[in-house]
């Protein structure tokens, strides 16, 4: 089962719309300082797909590449879609799995083109 970080809070405040001020302070993607307000705002503007929401808010694109924010974003999207199961689709996870120093990938034999 997927953890739902906002579940307890939601149960405590049924039907109540949170304040913009609180949303602004609710960090969803710490890498890029994207808040619940940013997500909600972009959604309202029309970025209503995990791929386009990513491009509008920069979630998933920080140093952790979404490892910290993906579940939260999924839950927020599910909520914005009007409840139900957490949104499980997320933008493709792009290699490398962890940040890799460019110097560690240097390999003269791999080079193609005029530089070879």
């Amino acid at each position: 089962m997927i953890r739902q970080p906002f579940r307890r809070w939601r149960e405590r405040t049924p039907g109540r719309r949170r304040s913009a001020a609180l949303d602004r302070r609710t960090l969803v993607c710490p890498c890029h300082d994207a808040t619940l307000f940013d997500l909600r705002n972009s959604w309202d503007e029309g970025y209503q797909h995990p791929e386009t929401l990513k491009r509008a808010t920069a979630v998933f694109m920080g140093p952790c590449q979404g490892k910290m924010c993906a579940k939260l974003v999924g839950n927020v999207v599910a909520e914005l879609q009007g409840g139900g199961e957490p949104e499980q689709r997320r933008p493709s996870v792009r290699p490398p799995l962890f940040p890799v120093r460019m110097g560690d990938l240097v390999h003269e034999d791999e080079v193609g083109g005029g530089a070879a």
Partner: protein, 396 residues
């Protein structure tokens, strides 16, 4: 809805113009048509707008090429880039911080004067830089590979998503309908003339259909018997963690077959290529290209060795034998227009869209657009352009 400006609900049964593909080419063309009063236009995309190459490219912009054809088309575009944020009422983050084509061999240095003279003759301002000037402009460059360069100060880069979104919103405001998630299955004709398209959401009638379908544009051509030499070419790019500003301009290295820039956030964004086209179309990246890219960029910028790659991605383009786009009405199929074969289609979009819209609405092909007609490929009259960062298999 997938993006602001995308139409909710199904398409109507007919439009004046149907554009296949909501990449930067299709959307810019829709916007330019609307500017000329043709607003009963539908742009149809199987994915979300910008989901193709238009949201995956290196964002680089220049008009400093060596041939009259390329220079004039891209100069028109470059001028448009400078106006777009204001005109579209959307910040496309155009950064005219300069575009440097680096010379890393004596041979490249020797060729610089002739290229710059041609550029001046075609009305494009560039400066030929010597080794000392290049190293001053980009101090982090490996001095052994920084022997010279041609700098176009007015070139640079813009944010690719923002350009797509800006055109999308402005086109939608002007009355254009943009549909995502609808697959165009074929072009329909009657008596040799275009009558519309068949889609996964039913038939749509239109007297004018524009193929701006990027990599799969050839598949659409096949449905109306238009045979053009278009191949797919797959490219990869990387982005690093943010680092202190070290690269102020956009930089292309024909020697490394690479292009790069640093974003306002500090990320280094770069791509390299190998000789010949990779005709597979997977959007997954490969270990060998990751190493190709890392090796080349560390060679060029030794200080990047300690900088970490966060992400790599791939995109695909359609490519012609002379690497120039095909712009104009398809030979033998009145009403079927092409904006395909783009390998520099991000920087070329604003100008090309303007020319295409003019041709569609007036029936006259503007002089700047004429050389890019499809007939050249059928007749084997290829456009010769010597400053592209790509080499074909034969040339390697």
């Amino acid at each position: 809805m997938t993006l602001p400006g995308v139409t909710a609900g199904p398409p109507a049964s007919s439009y004046d113009v149907v554009i296949v593909g909501a990449g930067v080419q299709g959307l810019a063309t829709a916007y330019e048509l609307a500017r000329r009063g043709v607003t009963n236009v539908a742009v149809v995309d199987r994915s979300w707008p910008g989901g193709g190459a238009s949201g995956r490219n290196g964002e680089m912009i220049r008009s400093a090429f060596s041939s009259r054809e390329w220079t004039q088309l891209f100069e028109l575009s470059l001028k448009r880039f400078a106006e777009l944020s204001a005109e579209l009422d959307f910040n496309i983050l155009f950064s005219p911080s300069g575009y440097l084509v680096l010379a890393s061999t004596e041979e490249e240095v020797a060729g610089q004067d002739a290229i710059a003279a041609a550029q001046a003759a075609y009305g494009v301002e560039t400066e030929v830089l010597g080794a000392a000037q290049v190293r001053k402009l980009v101090p982090h460059l490996n001095p052994d590979l920084a022997l010279g360069g041609i700098l176009q100060r007015k070139g640079g880069f813009a944010h690719h998503d923002a350009v797509v979104w800006g055109y999308l919103r402005a086109a939608a405001r002007a009355g254009v309908s943009v549909f995502s998630g609808i697959d165009v299955l074929g072009v329909t004709t009657a008596g040799g003339r275009v009558t519309g398209v068949r889609t996964s959401a039913g038939d749509i009638a239109a007297d004018v259909v524009v193929n701006a379908a990027g990599t799969t544009s050839d598949d659409l051509n096949q449905t109306v018997g238009v045979e053009l030499p278009l191949i797919k070419a797959r490219l990869e790019m990387i982005v690093t963690e943010p680092v202190k500003p070290f690269l102020s301009c956009a930089l292309a290295s024909p020697h490394m077959l690479g292009y790069c820039h640093q974003t306002a956030r500090g990320e280094f964004v770069g791509g390299t290529e190998r000789p010949g086209a990779d005709e597979t179309d997977s959007l997954n990246t490969t270990y060998h290209m990751l190493r190709d890219t890392a090796t080349k960029w560390v060679k060029l910028f030794p200080s990047l060795a300690g900088v970490r790659i966060l992400r790599s991605w791939a995109g695909t383009v359609s490519q012609t034998p002379d690497f120039a786009p095909v712009l104009g009405e398809a030979p033998g199929v009145p009403g079927y227009w092409l904006s395909v074969g783009w390998i520099y289609g991000f920087m070329g979009a604003p100008g090309a869209a303007q020319l295409l819209a003019e041709a569609i609405t007036t029936g006259r092909v503007p002089d700047t657009m004429a050389p890019f007609g499809a007939q050249r490929l059928l007749d084997g009259r290829l456009i010769e352009e010597n400053t592209l960062v790509v080499i074909s298999e034969e040339a390697s």
